[in-house]
């Protein structure tokens, strides 16, 4: 364990968050060996709506920075929203778009209004997984407008032959290399404050490239290889 075993990370997360875990996605079994595996950390409001995601494994410093950014951003958005949920959502999405611009040099227009969902989960035309719940949707990220002139150097043009998953296209057809966390900000600029069951499919399949087979399930021991009596081992 790296990030989550770090005492500073643990202290900060325990101070500001109530934590839990679920098992999602699938893995391949080749011979007797499991292959694949990934992790996504969701920072949510107490009503289960996702405010921020850390996709994939990160080091302790990154996890702590993201957790601190999350708490600071929540404070700012609450101050700005003045107890108005719609304003809070808009403020949060703008902050994700701003971070994408400043850190990755790419511009997206944050989506500050969600049209009503016309899909009825009880409809006969809605495909449900065997447990009866609709499958996790694949949410479309907002289109990249292009590079920001101020932060142009941060935006990296995707090279030929680059992994298609890591390249995003802007409205004019230009290809830009955008890492996992950059794509999280792109997604969150349009879909933060959605319920976790609507977001996890996109995070695992579109960002981490892992196939999701079922809804998340609880697991008794998420890290079976760790000796609980000797943290960090």
């Amino acid at each position: 364990m790296n990030a989550l075993a770090n005492p500073e990370v643990g202290k900060f997360i325990n101070e500001h968050f109530c934590s839990s875990f679920q098992k999602v996605a699938t893995f391949r079994i080749v011979g007797n060996q499991k292959q694949g595996g990934n992790v996504a950390a969701y920072f949510c409001a107490p009503d289960g709506r996702v405010l921020h995601v850390v996709a994939g494994p990160v080091d302790a410093g990154t996890m702590l920075n993201e957790a601190k950014w999350m708490v600071d951003s929540t404070k700012k958005a609450i101050a700005e929203a003045k107890n108005d949920g719609a304003k809070f959502k808009a403020a949060f999405r703008k902050m994700h778009a701003e971070r994408l611009r400043q850190q990755y040099g790419l511009v997206v227009e944050p989506v500050t209004f969600d049209p009503p969902d016309v899909q009825d989960s009880n409809s006969a035309l809605t495909y449900n997984d065997p447990s009866g719940r609709p499958l996790a949707p694949k949410l479309p990220p907002p289109p990249i407008e292009g590079p920001d002139v101020t932060f142009r150097l941060q935006a990296k043009e995707a090279g030929r032959g680059e992994n298609a998953d890591a390249a995003v296209r802007d409205r004019k057809g230009g290809a830009w290399a955008l890492g996992t966390q950059g794509r999280v900000h792109q997604l969150m600029a349009a879909h933060s404050m959605l319920k976790i069951e609507l977001v996890y499919g996109t995070v695992f399949e579109n960002i981490l490239g892992e196939k999701v087979s079922t809804k998340p399930v609880e697991v008794a021991t998420p890290f079976p290889w760790v000796d609980a009596k000797r943290p960090g081992r």
């Binding site: 364990m1 790296n2 990030a3 989550l4 075993a5 770090n6 005492p7 990370v9 643990g10 997360i13 325990n14 101070e15 500001h16 968050f17 109530c18 934590s19 839990s20 875990f21 679920q22 098992k23 999602v24 996605a25 699938t26 893995f27 499991k34 292959q35 694949g36 595996g37 990934n38 992790v39 996504a40 950390a41 969701y42 920072f43 949510c44 107490p46 009503d47 289960g48 999350m70 708490v71 929540t74 609450i78 929203a81 107890n83 108005d84 949920g85 719609a86 809070f88 976790i196 695992f204 892992e210 998340p216 609880e218 998420p222 890290f223 290889w225 609980a228 943290p231 960090g232 081992r233």
Partner: protein
């Protein structure tokens, strides 16, 4: 104007140092353990959400998949 009940509660809790209310520690009986990490985990996200509402905190949910024997994953 749509209002979210948790907004003002969380605002209050984030505005002051957590230790002022002694909220920096979770009672061991409430959680299902740290599983060898530095984080106290609740059994399910819904339990964590209920506790978060009560303790005026946010929620941290970890989704894990596949082979995690490699400690670099988390």
């Amino acid at each position: 104007m749509r209002s979210l009940a948790w907004l003002s509660a969380v605002a209050l809790c984030l505005a002051v140092a957590p230790t002022a209310f002694g909220r920096d520690t979770v009672k061991p009986a409430e959680t299902c353990g740290d599983h060898g990490t530095s984080i106290d985990f609740f059994d399910t996200p819904s339990e964590a959400a209920r506790a978060a509402l009560k303790q005026e905190k946010l929620v941290f949910v970890l989704h894990v998949s596949g082979n995690f024997e490699d400690p670099r994953f988390t």
